[in-house]
């Protein structure tokens, strides 16, 4: 999965957009955006929940996740489309989410900030742990 986050290293154009527009992201917004990026084409509500639970060992509250997704969509950081109705969900369609270029630049900018803050610290088993 690490390769999917390689864009952090070289996407200077996206970072430029981030710096110009100053998009601020909360911690849970970043978690949701990263989960959508990891899932790719299969990012819908239940799958995003499972991905977050699997990676962070915490079970996100559905209410918090759906309001976060709506907020991200309102900010133009993700967009969504409805799939076809499926019988296993009682004929209910899945709502698939996709990170927009603006969302990608926002997460790149936020993660770069973390990296800058982390640089010089040895948190993982080091003296500052």
């Amino acid at each position: 999965m690490g390769t999917r986050l390689d864009f952090l290293n070289h996407n200077t154009y996206d970072a430029g957009i981030y710096m110009r527009n100053r998009i601020t992201l909360g911690e849970f917004e970043q978690v949701v955006l990263l989960a959508i990026l990891r899932l790719g084409e299969n990012a819908y509500g239940a799958a995003i929940c499972r991905e977050i639970a699997g990676c962070t060992r915490r079970d996100p509250a559905p209410g918090a996740m759906y309001t976060t997704l709506d907020r991200l969509e309102a900010k133009g950081l993700v967009d969504s489309r409805f799939g076809d109705p499926t019988p296993e969900r009682g004929g209910r369609a899945k709502r698939y989410f996709h990170v927009t270029p603006r969302g990608r630049s926002a997460i790149v900018g936020a993660q770069r900030s973390y990296r800058r803050l982390m640089s010089g610290l040895r948190l993982f088993g080091g003296a500052d742990a």
């Binding site: 527009n21 239940a46 499972r50 209410g63």
Partner: protein, 241 residues
């Protein structure tokens, strides 16, 4: 009624039907959707997070309008200390009505959309300008400053798309609220006898409460609809508030 259909019906009261259906589908699919209690707790959590801001904003708007009539009306929105010239009387009455609506709308908007929202910012500035004008209209310097301030705000807001949308939305919301308030007052006059079924004093109290509640609901409904139609839907992807 199966729990999925019941939950979908409930969520569709607050969300677009497609969104409500997809959320219920997700909840039924996820492991936490297995137990009935867990499922309804998740549905309740979604409803609570969707409606709390709306409910809190409506409550704040109601309290604000009560405060307005009880406390602020006399010292701020009262012309009797310095009566307007007879020719301008009607104009001042309408300025006062718009001031009341803007005041309620501002309180609602601050809670519902936050202070970073352009509509809220414009409402706050309008209340400041209009309130100052109504209170000190007879002081030439203050009156002229308020008018100048208003023109400056319009010029600044017109410089960017979100400001222009807010400039369009605020008068539209005020107009909608005026229509709603007029309708409430018309219905009150028409069906007054039904409210005054009990003793007169009790009837007055009930009537005032019902009237104020209906007017506040009209104002908040106009505000939320106009915000949804003119600001939320037309905001281009990537717009920040």
């Amino acid at each position: 009624m199966p729990k999925g259909r019941a939950a979908e019906w409930l969520l569709a009261r607050f969300l677009p039907r497609e969104n409500a259906a997809s959320i219920v589908g997700d909840l039924l699919e996820s492991p936490s959707g297995g137990g009935r209690l867990r499922f309804w707790r998740a549905v309740g959590g979604v409803v609570l997070l969707v409606v709390w801001r709306r409910a809190a904003a409506t409550l704040v708007a109601f309290v604000a309008s009560v405060l307005f009539f009880g406390v602020f009306q006399e010292p701020i929105f009262e012309f009797s200390l310095h009566p307007a010239p007879a020719a301008w009387n009607q104009v001042f009455i309408w300025i006062g009505r718009v001031g009341l609506i803007l005041w309620t709308m501002m309180c609602y908007s601050v809670v519902r959309y936050g202070v970073r929202d352009r509509f809220t910012q414009l409402a706050v500035v309008s209340v400041l300008a209009l309130g100052s004008f109504i209170r000190f209209w007879w002081v030439p310097g203050v009156g002229a400053s308020c008018v100048l301030f208003g023109i400056t705000v319009i010029a600044v807001a017109a410089a960017n798309p979100s400001g222009r949308r807010a400039m369009l939305a605020l008068p539209a919301a005020v107009f909608g609220a005026l229509v709603a308030a007029s309708l409430v007052l018309f219905l009150d006059r028409r069906y007054e006898r039904l409210v005054h079924a009990g003793p007169r004093a009790t009837g007055d109290c009930i009537e005032s409460f019902v009237l104020l509640t209906a007017i506040v609901l009209g104002i908040t409904l106009s505000c939320s609809r106009v915000h949804k139609w003119l600001i939320d839907r037309r905001a281009p992807a990537g717009a920040t508030n």
